[in-house]
């Protein structure tokens, strides 16, 4: 009996010691996340389509690339594809260009295809992009939705009072207009581009705002759902371009947001590839968009916001 008690006492003492020792470590502040490596299993046979057709008459472009391994930052372009666009009964050829116009920057990049002629899409028509590459035909189709004229109240701008006063030329006569990047619950999805020119930096600034026709909790909760701050001179004007988008393209965009900046821990869904409109296992999207453009003086816009 004595031996049993002695053994038990030692055991209890050891257990209690272990317990107290571990309790002293404040596990509450333990880091519960870490970076770990995962394997990359690249399927190079897939093509990525990235492009659009709008109702603007111009040379339209798109890019064709291959998927990148997880380590890579440079996509392999697809060269030598036969690309053409079919709108109703009309066919428009694209040709490969080594120059890619990206915003204001022009740089050499293979895999860029530009329409041979200046072309424009047709509202309410199906636009089908055909890509013939390595014995396969990929088709990406999208319907161009007729855009409705811009109504300023669609855009929920709000005026930011002066945050601070500064006598530096850059801040002089500047105001800040705020707007949320994503708006939810609209009848028709649209994309708005708000273009200002920073005269001091001599740079065109583009802010993109999305109107979604459904609510996505990941989007609403995302930190990227915060405010876009548009800095502009009080005497300047702003260009607002409204783009119509089809419901499938809206779905694709939502998928992309869910897989990128809306990817939050609490609400993230089972991961999956965005729903591409490219057939034959292709990825990316080719979309058609009707455009409405309007230039508005900032003074007028500011007055409108204050009256709202």
């Amino acid at each position: 009996m004595h031996t049993i008690l002695k053994t038990n006492s030692s055991f209890i003492a050891f257990f209690v010691y272990l317990f107290l020792l571990l309790s002293c470590e404040n596990f509450y502040y333990e880091d519960i996340s870490e970076i770990v490596p995962i394997s990359s299993n690249l399927n190079e046979t897939t093509i990525i389509v990235n492009g659009s057709i709008t109702s603007e008459n111009k040379f339209h472009s798109l890019t064709l690339t291959k998927p990148m391994s997880l380590n890579s930052m440079n996509p392999d372009s697809i060269s030598g594809a036969h690309v053409y666009l079919v709108i109703e009964t009309d066919t428009f050829e694209y040709q490969e260009s080594i120059y890619h116009n990206y915003g204001d920057i022009v740089f050499r990049q293979h895999g860029t295809y530009i329409s041979k002629d200046s072309i424009s899409g047709k509202p309410n028509c199906l636009h089908s992009l055909h890509i013939e590459y390595k014995d396969k035909v990929y088709i990406a189709s999208d319907t161009m939705i007729k855009v409705k004229p811009l109504n300023l109240s669609e855009l929920k701008f709000y005026y930011q009072p002066d945050l601070f006063e500064s006598s530096t030329p850059y801040f002089k006569d500047k105001i800040i207009l705020n707007i949320l990047c994503h708006h939810f619950g609209y009848k028709q999805p649209n994309i708005y581009q708000i273009i200002t020119v920073d005269k001091y930096l001599n740079k065109k600034m583009i802010s993109t705002v999305y109107h979604h026709n459904n609510i996505d909790p990941q989007g609403v909760l995302s930190e990227w759902n915060k405010i876009l701050a548009i800095w502009t001179g009080i005497n300047d004007s702003v260009w607002i371009i409204k783009h119509s988008i089809s419901q499938p393209y809206e779905n694709f965009l939502i998928d992309v947001f869910k897989e990128t900046e809306w990817k939050t821990g609490f609400f993230s869904e089972v991961s999956a590839n965005p729903s591409s409109n490219v057939t034959n296992g292709g990825m990316g999207y080719f979309y058609a968009s009707d455009i409405y453009k309007k230039s508005i003086p900032i003074i007028e816009l500011k007055q409108f916001i204050e009256n709202e």
Binding site: F19, I38, S40, P67, I191, I206, T260, V270, P274
Partner: protein, 763 residues
């Protein structure tokens, strides 16, 4: 000695030669200390090898020819009582069993195999649950069940039960017959069951008797304590996680009693959400039960459960959810052979999510309300034959998800679920046959909106229903269990069950608790789940060791899964986001248990597979279920160090659960002239990758005072995940920097969690 034996045999058997009439012995088997009825207690008549078992209300009935018998009454952890009777007419014997002194209590059975009724189920008592390692020092039924072979979870802190290829929504969880729709407190770290209030737990995961239905995988039946009929007592306990208190006692001695128990989490009492403590969870629950014994033939029980959870952040976010149940039960004894129970049950589940930012407020609510009427009759024809009949009608009211952001919510709907059942348990020598039939039907009724879908799952027609029945399903569920018991040691069984389920959970991911999960009813687009299950097994039990091998195969029809990036919120036609197919599950379960002695425990290994065949989800249509865990190895060891001191340890090693990982990426210039490039991951097919294998060691030491003392103490010290294994809870690709290597952010639960709990009880 031989003369005495001869006299005994003559005494027992000679009257049988002259008696042709049968008489009934019936009554209740109770705990002498509390007066509460004991569920699943046995009465044996060794001389003629007959037995009976007390039902959920402690009632037993056994019919024997007139004569002299030695009756033995037995229940797990209680002393055996013997009664010598001379049966000459119908007799009522109420038996009071006394708890075994702890010094003598060497039998600790983790999961009881009940051969008297020949049905295999897992039974746990509060005492057993408290002896097992737990998380945060909070003894928990669900965590205890997860230690059993074949019952799986999908990560630390999960309150989900994945049983024999079934999803977590395919288990019918009952508190005093009332369904509980969300088992989780604290996002699944604790279950809704307060350990103080539980009297008895039974899990039917093989043969599901025809009395039960509504879910395809298992029935988890829990009964709340009724309260001490003899004396008042008060107990209080505090653990790392919560504080709890329980009061019980007689209202009128030996006629009525009450039981009240409350539990409250401790985190939220001391920590306010702040920038440092971003997410603060809290919960409470309350259990009450009152029972009235009007006479020997009539008894009334009133019980209620209410649970509430909150998770809030510093600024934006509040999530509230909870279950409320209440049950009124009336036991009536028509005669010594015919026992009835009538129940009226109410159950409510809600989940409310609110978040606000500078410009908007999002409010989302989902829930289920049930009113349920049940009537059950048990006819104890003779010791070899028992019949049961019953009916059940449930009125469901579904709120599948509504938010203030849109008028296009999923339409509320109502339904009536009816069932009728009959069963017969027949013993023929060593062969026990349980067979029966359950008829289930489901009516969608009342005002709602639903859509006809085309082959591409696009809504093509809107239906606005008014009054009356607008859709129905009827399902016949035959069930049979054949069991052969040889010399009370070898038991072979073969069972077939057909089960159905008319409601399913939709949630946005595979965690045990998710912020967006909603119950939706069967409808023209969502067919009811129908499962055909085949089980077979062999068990050897010699009182010291119990070893078993079991195999199962099941096919579940109308299994649903989501298409990629399904829109589950604010989508009035949520059914268009779902795809339907079949789930297949099979497995083999091996276990060895040591049931007596100072060292007890079990070791088990399970191999199982569960996969879906559903069109339009993956290219080849066949993929593993998100809860497919092929290998599952568990060891549990319990050691009684002294009458007051117990030590237990548990180690588990399982396959990692399936998941979907990125394997490549591409850049997307989202919009023409947009300066921002999206870095889009490319994933493999659904569930083709796996988490790392899961393993964990838990240690537990409990001390309690023994004897008839006025004040009793109980202290539990524990270590959860003693060697600090970082088992992943989930992966996040939001900070995934594709240009910097193949890296991903992995979240895991806290590593070593020391825990302590203390309980004091005043008698």
């Amino acid at each position: 000695m031989k003369i005495y034996a001869l006299l005994f045999i003559i005494n027992v058997n000679v009257p049988l030669l002259f008696c042709s009439s049968n008489y009934v012995i019936s009554g209740y088997i109770r705990d002498i200390e509390t007066g509460e009825e004991l569920i699943g207690a046995y009465v044996f008549v060794d001389s003629i090898k007959k037995s009976s078992i007390s039902n959920n209300y402690g009632f037993y009935s056994i019919t024997l020819p007139c004569g002299g018998y030695l009756l033995k009454y037995n229940f797990l952890g209680f002393e055996i009582i013997q009664r010598q009777i001379d049966l000459q007419n119908d007799t009522i014997i109420d038996i009071y069993l006394k708890k075994m002194p702890i010094e003598l209590e060497e039998v600790h059975i983790t999961a009881q195999n009940n051969y008297s009724s020949s049905l295999k189920y897992i039974q746990l008592s509060t005492k057993q649950i408290k002896e097992l390692p737990s998380i945060f020092g909070e003894p928990d039924i669900v965590k205890a069940l997860q230690l059993e072979p074949g019952i799986k979870n999908i990560g630390d802190g999960s309150s989900g039960l994945y049983i024999r290829g079934g999803n977590r929504d395919q288990n019918y969880v009952l508190i005093d017959e009332a369904p509980v729709y969300n088992l989780s407190h604290l996002i699944g770290f604790v279950s809704v069951f307060n350990p103080e209030m539980i009297k008895d737990v039974k899990l039917y995961n093989s043969y599901i008797p025809p009395k039960y239905g509504g879910r395809v995988s298992s029935i988890l039946e829990t009964n709340m304590k009724e309260g001490n009929l003899n004396k008042h007592s008060l107990s209080a306990a505090i653990s790392t996680l919560s504080g709890r208190i329980a009061i019980e006692g007689p209202i009128a001695k030996n006629k009525s009693s009450f039981f009240i128990s409350a539990r409250k989490s401790s985190f939220d009492l001391f920590i306010e959400p702040s920038k440092d403590d971003f997410l603060v969870p809290g919960f409470y629950d309350l259990n009450t039960k009152i029972n009235f014994k009007f006479n020997n033939k009539n008894r009334l029980f009133l019980s209620m459960y209410h649970g509430y959870d909150i998770i809030e952040t510093y600024e934006e976010y509040i999530n509230l959810w909870g279950n409320t149940t209440s049950t009124i039960r009336w036991n009536h004894l028509f005669n010594q052979k015919l026992f009835s129970n009538m129940s009226l049950i109410y159950s409510k589940y809600y989940n409310n999510l609110t978040f606000t930012n500078d410009t908007s407020k999002f409010d989302w609510i989902t829930g289920v309300n049930d009113i349920n009427f049940k009537y059950d009759l048990n006819w104890y024809k003779n010791p070899d034959s028992k019949f049961g009949f019953g009916l059940n009608t449930i009125f469901h009211k579904f709120t599948p998800g509504e938010s203030n952001y849109t008028q296009r919510n999923i339409s509320r709907s109502r339904a009536i679920e009816n069932s009728l059942y009959i069963f017969h348990n027949k013993k023929i020598n060593s062969l026990d046959i349980n067979y029966g039939l359950r008829l289930a039907n489901f009516f969608n009724i009342g005002k709602t909106t639903w859509y006809t879908l085309n082959e591409q799952y696009i809504p093509v027609k809107e239906h606005n229903e008014g009054k009356g029945i607008w859709n129905n399903y009827g399902i016949i569920e035959p069930r049979i269990n054949i069991s052969l018991n040889i010399k009370n040691k070898h038991n072979y069984y073969l069972a077939y069950t057909r089960t159905s389920q008319f409601m399913q959970v939709l949630s946005n991911n595979t965690m045990s608790y998710t912020f967006f999960e909603t119950w939706i009813p069967a409808s023209p687009n969502i067919k009811p789940l129908i499962s055909n299950n085949l089980f077979s097994g062999y068990t050897f039990d010699n009182k010291i060791f119990n070893t078993s091998i079991e195999v199962y195969y099941k096919i579940i029809k109308n299994q649903i899964d989501y298409k990629d990036h399904a829109t589950l919120i604010n989508n009035p036609c949520i059914e268009s986001e779902l795809r339907r197919g079949k789930a297949y599950a099979y497995g083999i379960e091996l276990s060895l248990k040591k049931q007596s002695g100072k060292t007890t425990g079990s070791i088990s290994y399970v191999f199982s597979k569960v996969y879906y065949i559903i069109k339009n989800i993956t290219f080849d249509e066949k993929y593993v279920a998100p809860y497919d865990i092929p290998h599952d190895f568990k060891i549990l060891i319990k050691r009684q160090l002294s009458p007051k001191l117990n030590f237990s340890t548990f180690w588990t090693y399982t396959s990692g659960r399936p998941t979907t990982f990125p394997v490549a990426h591409y850049y997307l210039d989202k919009h023409e002239q947009d300066n921002e490039i999206k870095n889009v991951p490319i994933y493999t097919n659904r569930n083709t990758e796996r988490f790392p294998n899961y393993h964990r060691l838990d240690l537990n030491l409990s001390y309690k005072t023994i004897g008839d003392k006025k004040v009793k103490h109980e202290i539990i010290l524990g270590l959860y995940n003693a060697y600090a294994r970082k088992n992943p809870l989930g992966y996040s690709f939001d900070s995934f920097d594709y240009g910097m290597g193949n890296n991903v952010l992995v979240y895991h639960f806290y590593t070593i969690i020391p825990n302590i709990s203390y309980k004091i009880k005043f008698n």
